[in-house]
């Protein structure tokens, strides 16, 4: 059994090794993408979820909060007792921004003509984070000019914006996890499905099916080299981001790599599913690109904020495995959280993997019975 497996993996490696162009793309792609995606896009954000800490609780602070609430940019998710509570909400990814209104907000304004508000933004996604910070500043300035009407000595509300998780506003904080998701999907799903379908097309699959090799062994042996290639790419992307982009890994490295391997297996099993329902390499490639690459790009939250999407797209985004992986990588790599926060996303990926595998095995058995 072991010898058969090794013979198969060796043969698979020859296929990959002989195809130098593809090999070059597989290893060059992550590097190129990391560099290209440094220039990310800016987008307007609607209905971002935020929290407010109101330590003043006077008439003016109420007015101010209502002003924020009234804007279409923000939904106030929760009112918190202290800024410390906000930290937990940030880590869970529930809120993007916190506005902290200091004690004596109203009386400071009346007696000293000036006061401050503190704005803490999650800028692990720098586009969203900074845009939201700017919106708050604009709303505050607007509010200030309203209450200044008829005043001789103008009131000033000074917003003090603090960036969380990504103080230097590095775009890398957002696109490194995105590139990881894309590269792993590309290698595992696209390459695996093409490799398996190629055997069908050339007729060698028949020979393999007639051999004593168990189908499970064929599939495992075919995906093993891609699993190894992916592991190499995970490491090279992480090395690039730490040493070239200067992006530290805040969380547990072993957890990050472990969950990346889980996502790799999800992608591999999706590739197997595609290969079990297609008969030509072109079809496999089309399905991989349409069914996977585009959704990964569009709906994972990597390029375009999911908060902004219409409801049907929001719902659809839940079906994209990369969305969950993207969240996990951001959470572990940038916010440094542990399993307690990301168990739900991990569970979803695991369930997806099991479903893909079950479907492809079922598909295989139907094929045996009906052909």
């Amino acid at each position: 059994m072991k010898e058969q497996f090794l013979a198969f993996v060796r043969k698979e490696w020859f296929h990959i090794w002989r195809d130098k162009k593809t090999l070059f793309i597989l290893f060059g792609l992550p590097v190129v993408q990391i560099i290209i995606f440094g220039f990310a896009l800016t987008n307007e954000i609607k209905n971002a979820r935020i929290a407010v800490v109101d330590r003043s609780r006077d008439a003016l602070s109420q007015q101010y909060i209502q002003r924020i609430e009234a804007s279409r940019y923000f939904d106030i998710e929760s009112m918190l007792g202290s800024a410390n509570e906000a930290d937990a909400e940030f880590r869970k990814g529930k809120i993007k921004l916190v506005v902290v209104i200091p004690e004596n907000f109203g009386s400071d304004i009346r007696h000293q003509n000036k006061t401050q508000v503190q704005v803490i933004a999650d800028v692990s996604d720098p586009n969203t984070g900074t845009t939201l910070g700017t919106y708050i500043q604009a709303i505050t300035a607007d509010f200030q000019s309203d209450i200044n009407q008829g005043q001789k000595l103008p009131y000033t509300i000074q917003p003090e914006v603090r960036m969380l998780y990504n103080p230097q506003l590095k775009g890398a904080y957002n696109f490194v996890p995105g590139v990881m998701a894309m590269v792993l999907m590309l290698i595992c799903t696209l390459m695996t499905s093409i490799a398996i379908v190629k055997e069908k097309e050339t007729g060698t699959m028949e020979v393999l099916l007639v051999s004593p090799l168990k189908p499970v062994l064929v599939i495992l042996a075919k995906s093993t080299p891609y699993l190894l290639l992916s592991a190499v790419n995970i490491v090279s992307i992480l090395l690039l981001s730490v040493f070239v982009l200067g992006l530290p890994i805040a969380g547990n490295l072993a957890l990050l790599i472990g969950l990346s391997l889980l996502f790799t297996i999800t992608s591999l099993s999706f590739g197997m599913l595609i290969s079990s329902i297609t008969a030509s390499q072109q079809t496999a490639m089309l399905i991989s690109l349409m069914g996977l690459f585009l959704p990964t790009l569009m709906l994972s939250g990597f390029m375009f904020p999911i908060e902004n999407m219409p409801l049907p797209l929001k719902v659809m985004s839940n079906l994209v495995p990369a969305k969950w992986y993207f969240f996990i990588v951001k959470a572990v790599m940038i916010k440094g959280v542990g399993m307690a926060i990301i168990w739900k996303e991990t569970l979803i990926l695991t369930v997806m993997t099991i479903v893909f595998l079950a479907l492809s095995i079922r598909k295989y058995n139907i094929r045996l019975a009906n052909h």
């Binding site: 010898e3 058969q4 090794l6 013979a7 198969f8 060796r10 043969k11 020859f14 296929h15 002989r18 195809d19 050339t202 007729g203 060698t204 028949e206 020979v207 393999l208 099916l209 007639v210 051999s211 004593p212 090799l213 045996l368 019975a369 009906n370 052909h371």
Partner: protein, 253 residues
């Protein structure tokens, strides 16, 4: 792990073997026996059902009804045992074009569980027989078609199977190479291997010990080429085949 050597009279038996796809009956109650060491020609027009029948015998497809045994094992219940005892070469190429000759030999010998020592010995004698020693490190895609097919056949029998299934093995090859190919088949049959072969070439049908001709999913005729020609009053197998094929009502696929 290995089952004790099974004793069986016929290499292949089929008893009312059928395969339905929905309403369509691809193979309709075919019954025949193939003796050990026999070269059995399995003929039929495109769409007559021969590929489906062959897939069932190889354990690639489950019969809808009827029974069949290969090397003494039941096709429905023991496909894994069958797979260990058969070799297979399909009409499309059974070799990896982007692997060298040696790598192909090693791979196929490897998946049949041959030991490293056996693989070395086998591949050396195989290369010698085929006079491919000079080409052993060349990619298969650089070899002429005829050589590829001879290599594919040699690899299909590298694990010394009891029965070899050849699905139109000589498609697209010149007559001389086909002749050489059939000499290899004869050698292999003399050593006790049963050969089950489908072909489009009627001159090749003459080389078989016995021939069956499928029409519309049924076996329309089964005998030695000489007896068939006599029965149909024909001068060649080609005439026999045409007489039978004209009865077909089913369209080729």
């Amino acid at each position: 792990m290995k089952n004790p050597e099974k004793h069986y009279e016929y290499a292949i038996t089929a008893d009312a073997l059928s395969k339905h796809f929905g309403d369509f009956t691809a193979v309709d109650r075919i019954t025949f026996n193939v003796r050990r060491g026999e070269i059995f020609g399995f003929l039929g027009a495109n769409g007559a059902g021969k590929t489906t029948a062959m897939r069932m015998l190889c354990g690639l497809s489950k019969p809808s009804s009827g029974e069949a045994t290969v090397a003494g094992y039941d096709v429905a219940a023991q496909p894994e045992d069958i797979k260990r005892n058969i070799g297979y070469m399909s009409q499309k190429f059974s070799l990896y074009e982007d692997l060298t000759v040696t790598e192909n030999i090693r791979f196929f010998a490897g998946i049949y569980g041959l030991s490293d020592a056996a693989i070395r010995e086998k591949s050396a004698s195989l290369l010698r027989h085929l006079q491919l020693e000079a080409e052993k490190n060349k990619l298969v895609q650089s070899l002429p078609l005829g050589w590829k097919q001879k290599l594919a056949f040699s690899i299909a029998i590298i694990h010394e199977p009891k029965i070899v299934f050849l699905d139109e093995p000589t498609g697209g090859v010149d007559p001389l190479t086909r002749r050489e190919f059939w000499e290899m088949i004869y050698t292999s049959a003399r050593q006790g291997t049963t050969i089950f072969v489908t072909t489009h070439y009627m001159d090749e049908a003459e080389y078989c010990h016995r021939v069956s001709i499928m029409v519309d999913g049924r076996i329309a005729a089964l005998d030695t080429p000489a007896a068939l020609k006599k029965h149909f009053g024909a001068a060649s197998m080609n005439e026999v085949f045409l007489q039978l094929a004209r009865q077909a009502t089913r369209q080729a696929d």
